[in-house]
Amino acid sequence: MTVVVFLLFVALVLAVSRYTSRRAQGVGGYFVANSSIPWGVNGIAFAGGYLSVASFLGICGLIAFFGYDGFLYSIGFLAGWIVALFVIAEPMKRRGTFTFSDALNRTFSHPGIQLAAGLSVLVVSLFYLVPQMVGAGVLVEPLLGIPHYWGVLIVGSVVILIVAGGGMTSTTYVQFFNGGLLLLVAAVLTGAVLLRGIDLEQLPPEEGGAGLPKYEYRVLPAQIEGHSVTVDLPGVRLVDRHAVLDRNTGEEQTVLYRLSHLVPAQAAGGGGYSAEIKGRTARFNGRSGPGWTVEDIDGRSYVRIEDWWRWEGGTSSHLAETQARTLRPDGVVLMNGAPDGPENRIRQMGGISTLPEAYGRQTGSVGPLRLLSVFADRDTVVAVPRNTSFTTSGGERVTVHYEQALAGSTFMRPGLMFPLEARTGEPALTTLLNRLNFISLMLALFLGTSALPHILIRYYTVPSAEAARKSTIVAIAGIGLFYVLTMYLGVGSLAAGALNPETSNMSAPLLARSFGEVLFAVTSGIAFTTVLATVSGLIMAASGAVAHDLMTNLVKREVSDTAKVRAGRIVAVVVGLVGIVLGIAFRDMNVSFLVGWAFAVAASANLPSLLSMLFWKRTTAQGIIASILVGIGSSVGLILLSPDMWVRYGFDPATAPMPINQPGIISIPLSFAVLVVVSMATQNRGRTTAGTAPGAA
């Protein structure tokens, strides 16, 4: 059914696009929908274009896994709209016709400005495009059972059809359609979460409806002395031990024991066996295979497998069951010690283990504030999935997934994903860098939104400055409401125990699945159209930047309107193809943090020039150009030198030249400083100042 609903949504998007593309004639029609979009539609389209998969799937997943820290993205993503509304919207609309570089160019009338601004739009769009494309692939892989690159290819081709065919008009209505659906599905899911409340006795089954009952991970009493373990499992032998060390103190934080033990097996057809592993059926072909053997004891068959058990350390006298994916040197993949297969897949993890006494084992339906206060209670205990990856002495690549117990009061305050508090034994510099990294991200989110190219172009699709303002207000209301709902989707998926420990991005669809297949299919379909809507906006922005800003300057002669539209369509196809290639190349990149980087690049490249044009009379064209170029160069450069990228290159992140991941705190002030210094130095070179802004201080 998921496939049918998926296709239905894609067909609907294409229908909307086709129906509206007839209005996209001429240069104004193609690039700015003839500036005739009603403000209400434009406002929801703002929301549909802005709320990307990072907002929908990314934030819900982060909240489910890391609690309040995921919500910090929601807060930052919305706060940026304040700058967009109060400072940028109306002046931008009044000064520009097609792109934001028009506005800069009109004020300063210098060919270099349009070139620099066009380039910056292109760079930021591409930066933002990659995570969207990756997100599309992540989505289709588990949902449709097709490879990652198919998702990227489908999104790429559909979007090229939308943008090259219908330009800004189609893009707008596709985004409007998506924004409306996204708000609707988030509201429906939140309502369902509140009605269900929290029930520790009866968790919804995995994979919806009559699916598998939620698996209860075993916790066994064990005697643990150093490297020896005694635990009640049939035929148990200790095979290996792996300790996760605390980075600061070097102490053993958590210890994983690899135990070999017997699991009852039944003879299956063709000389093979089947056994129940964590509630799922695993198939074993023959009497032995890589990592397992069949043993007969007292006339009964058992399969001997190896799996990992977690000891919390300290005085704990228990071993907790985990899940593990093992890639052997011979290329064989084992899931929980048994051959990986369609019936032996990873199981969901996470949930609430204890509620405050007043509630007992279930809350019943709860109000929106009550649900959040139950989660934040110090007597509530939640179990969240965590993982650790390592290579064994035998050369196996192992990822162990386990549940970590946390008090609700810790889960619902900052600190799980961003380590802000100084921990025991942590060097003062590490604490400082962690804090700077966080401040840098919050700064980039606040200042980045109003400088994003696919947001800036939407001021030109409405007829007047007043309509630009009103549509921004509709956007703030819609996006704000959505971000409040993300909190409920996040904690709701944890309460339902519906988390895939391998990818936090699947939390929202899995929450929907816990309410049934229909909601699951619809939610997944909408998540997919979300990618389409955001990517269309980005490609549209890039198309405008190249055809309108770069081409006009590079060709050096008057370009006819028809040629401009044709160039716009060609650029849309090319950028779409580049996006497809990058989406496939960066497939294992984390969606949310890539988006954080795009915000930093946008804020560094564009915001200083936008603000100074409006508020600083002594700004010069040279200052603007320098600021844009330095903003792009420094933010992209710092990202390429960051610890996260160092990991991608295969180096030790501690040796990265740039100590923090988020460049904003350096590149944004730097770009401002360059603007001021260069403007001051070029005051007398026949400048055109920014004095056209009344009220400028």
Partner: protein, 92 residues
């Protein structure tokens, strides 16, 4: 189609609107900076109970979102006010 050939649309109230907008941005920035400062330097405060059984983190976070929406609506009201008093020109 050269955009710089047509004059910038005049808006007699732009100065007033800019003033309101800048002040509101500063107000919101202060509240936002406060949030970041508490998160960074006193994260343990965020677990304290604030209002309606919610902790400070949730109250402050949701508060920032609601404040954005309220300020946006208020700004629209303030921008509309001068037109009612008779000025109609200057719009695109």
């Amino acid at each position: 189609m050269n955009p710089s050939s047509s004059p910038i649309a005049e808006d007699p109230f732009e100065r007033r609107k800019t003033g309101i907008g800048v002040r509101m941005t500063l107000l919101y920035s202060l509240v936002y900076v406060g949030f970041v400062v508490v998160s960074v330097f006193r994260p343990q405060w965020m677990a304290a109970r604030a209002v309606l059984g919610l902790n400070l983190a949730v109250t402050y976070g949701l508060g920032l979102i609601v404040l954005a929406i309220v300020l946006a609506m208020l700004y629209n009201q303030l921008c509309r006010a001068p037109r009612r008093s008779g000025a109609e020109g200057g719009r695109q």
